[in-house]
């Protein structure tokens, strides 16, 4: 760590990062220190503008890559013109300019800092004096002239100094005051400024800056003899002699390889490059692992280690978790009470006991005590589950207690496969956010699966797996000869059953859910990632939103 700090102090800053700093200090920190980059449409629109300009001015377009260690800056000037013997840097912006009270066009503060920084960089490197810089705003087609004076140069020096200090700091700055800045900020979906404001002020009504749904598809390859390869910007899937299926890479979010399909190295490279998750599931339906291509974001993991080595923090988070799952389990049984008058006394007894147990969670003072409660809650819940199965369902699909490794009946085979899928999705979310899956707060680091993933799974077991299994059984969607393979006392899903389950599970993930705290709706698919981001906020001074996904 010493080393990174030392080089961070001497390394020059990009002029663009100075622009970010002047826009919002948190933005600067997220990009420069946490190495989070996301691009929204305006980022790409800006790049396109530059590509277009470059073509228009083919002859006199020159890009200058400049660096000055003395000044502490480096950057590329958009365009440079000579006017009356003076060099003038130009900057092109796709949007509108700022209008002052008299409606006169002005530069936005961050743009002004940026063009002044280019001017100072030119002055230092070339030993000339730059009298002004110009910014052209394309949306309203005006050029704003920014004079370079001593005050401007001082502003640049001060900003560099402040930015350097912030870069060396371990504290992530709070969200910016001006909420309008966030609306146009490309990092909003990972910064979650509205959620941070809500954490600080429960009265705040957050806007949803987080996408409602994933834009990319999840691809399950269940055919054992499939070959996944790269062809240009596509993935191609060949199964036996059928014509290859083409998948445009920009439309793919995850590749899930069930059993032993082949994937070529170039295909893996393409996935890694495009941030496509690649996951492996065994023929028995167990989660095997993922390709982990997390780059950077070291700071976030250092903060995770610091937070999760604190026993009080772990206990608090674990309490939230056990409460969240237990409450959802109880709610599910309560729902059943409405339709099952015959089982009413039994269910009432179970849910009352669960309620009493849930009340004790906040008084526990150790993880061991909490595990005891959780075990007890689970036992009660599973003893209530059989009452949720309708009378019409044949005996073979009934539930008589949880067993696994290997599952001994059809119901358990479905649950186990579902939990495998869920673990895969939780892992995908953890890797996307850049946290360390092997470092959790509740589960012991001794099972094969990464503890943080097991921790987070608790939140989603009831809504994404248990409910899917129960509903599909009650709807008689399973054919017990075709969907299952039985081998003495082991039961697992057949190819048919596997495909059917994936279908049901993915459809469930696509359903909308209104978040009880933030009050906006999104799909379960999206909630997985949101929950990981909210967890991370728990130790970044924006606590209070994690573990609230309780069934209504």
């Amino acid at each position: 760590m010493e080393q990174t700090v030392a080089s961070a102090e001497t390394e020059t800053l990009r002029v663009n990062s100075l622009h970010a700093f002047a826009y919002c200090q948190r933005l600067f920190y997220l990009e420069e220190v946490e190495e989070l980059y996301t691009q929204n449409e305006s980022v790409f629109a800006g790049r396109r503008l530059h590509a277009e300009l470059q073509k228009l001015e083919r002859e006199d377009w020159q890009e200058f890559n400049l660096e000055s260690v003395a000044l502490g800056l480096r950057g590329r000037v958009d365009a440079l013109r000579t006017l009356e013997g003076h060099l003038i840097p130009y900057e092109h912006k796709i949007g509108r300019c700022y209008r002052d009270r008299q409606q006169q066009p002005q530069a936005w503060h961050s743009d002004r800092v940026q063009i002044l920084a280019y001017a100072c960089l030119l002055e230092t490197v070339l030993g000339v004096t730059v009298p002004e810089g110009r910014i052209h705003y394309h949306r309203d087609n005006v050029t704003v002239r920014v004079p370079v004076d001593e005050a401007g140069r001082q502003l640049v020096r001060d900003t560099i100094e402040q930015a350097r200090q912030l870069r060396a700091s371990l504290e992530r700055p709070p969200v910016c005051r001006n909420e309008r800045l966030c609306l146009n900020c490309s990092l909003a979906p990972v910064c979650l400024p509205e959620e941070a404001r809500l954490a600080r002020d429960p009265e705040h009504l957050p806007l949803r800056l987080f996408p409602r749904d994933d834009e990319r598809e999840i691809i399950h390859v269940t055919a054992g003899k499939a070959l996944i390869r790269r062809a240009g910007e596509q993935l191609r899937i060949a199964i036996d002699d059928e014509p290859e299926q083409k998948l445009p890479i920009q439309q793919v979010g995850q590749i899930v390889i069930h059993k032993f399909a082949q994937i070529t190295t170039p295909a893996i490279h393409l996935c890694a490059y495009q941030d496509v998750g690649v996951h492996f599931i065994s023929s028995g339906g167990r989660y095997i692992g993922s390709i982990d291509n997390r780059k950077g974001s070291i700071q976030r993991r250092i903060r995770q280690y610091q937070a999760l080595t604190n026993p009080d923090q772990c206990l608090r988070l674990a309490q939230l978790l056990v409460n969240c799952r237990g409450q959802s389990q109880r709610r599910l049984l309560l729902r059943a009470q409405r339709n099952r008058q015959d089982a009413l006394p039994a269910l009432q007894e179970i849910t009352t006991q669960m309620e009493q147990l849930l009340d004790t969670i906040s008084h526990t003072d150790s993880l061991e005590a909490l595990r005891g409660i959780e075990g007890h809650l689970a036992a009660l819940y599973f003893s209530g589950l059989p009452y949720l199965i309708g009378d019409q369902v044949p005996e073979k699909l009934h539930f008589n207690g949880r067993n696994r490794r290997p599952p001994q009946d059809r119901f358990n085979a479905l649950l186990s496969f579902g939990y495998g899928m869920l673990l895969k999705d939780v892992m995908n979310a953890i890797l996307t956010v850049g946290l360390e899956p092997a470092f959790g707060f509740y589960h012991q680091p001794r099972t094969q699966a990464p503890p943080l993933a097991l921790d987070l799974m608790e939140i989603f077991r009831v809504p994404l797996v248990d409910m899917v299994v129960i509903a599909s059984i009650n709807r008689m969607q399973w054919n017990f000869d075709e969907c299952f393979e039985v081998c003495r006392d082991h039961v697992w899903l057949s190819d048919d059953g596997r495909r059917k389950f994936i279908q049901l599970y993915e459809a469930r993930k696509g359903e909308m859910w209104k978040h009880p705290v933030t009050n906006y709706s999104l799909t379960y698919r999206r909630l997985l990632e949101l929950e990981v981001r909210l967890l991370e906020k728990e130790w970044c001074g924006e606590a209070g939103l994690f573990g609230k996904l309780i069934l209504r």
Binding site: Q39, N40, E41, S42, V43, F44, A45, R47, R48, A51, E52, K55, P211, R212, D213, D214, E215, R216, E217, I218, I219, H220, V221, T222, A223, A226, G232, E233, Q234, I237, I239, Q245, K246, L247, P248, I249, Q250, Q251, R499, I502, Q503, E506, G510, T523, R525
Partner: protein, 97 residues
Amino acid sequence: MGESKNWYLICYDIRDPKRWRQVYKQLEGYGERLQFSIFRCRLTPREREKLRWQLEKVLTEEDDLLIVGLCNQCIERVRACNRSGAWPVSEQNFKIF
């Protein structure tokens, strides 16, 4: 579901075979080819802008590019006027092979 995605018809006329291939390859990463130089892509605003930027880096003055956004009603009309299967619509966010 995924309400921020829209269909686009992307047509191009490119004078130089090398650039044509480059553009063709880029577009294959976003959607599916319908005819010789016509693609259909279902894109979010972010993807649309990313694609426009990537194409702009390849295209020159003499090339033509037409991006047509289609609303749901347009899609229905496209389907009504064509043979069945000309514009299949699946709104699912997953595929199983």
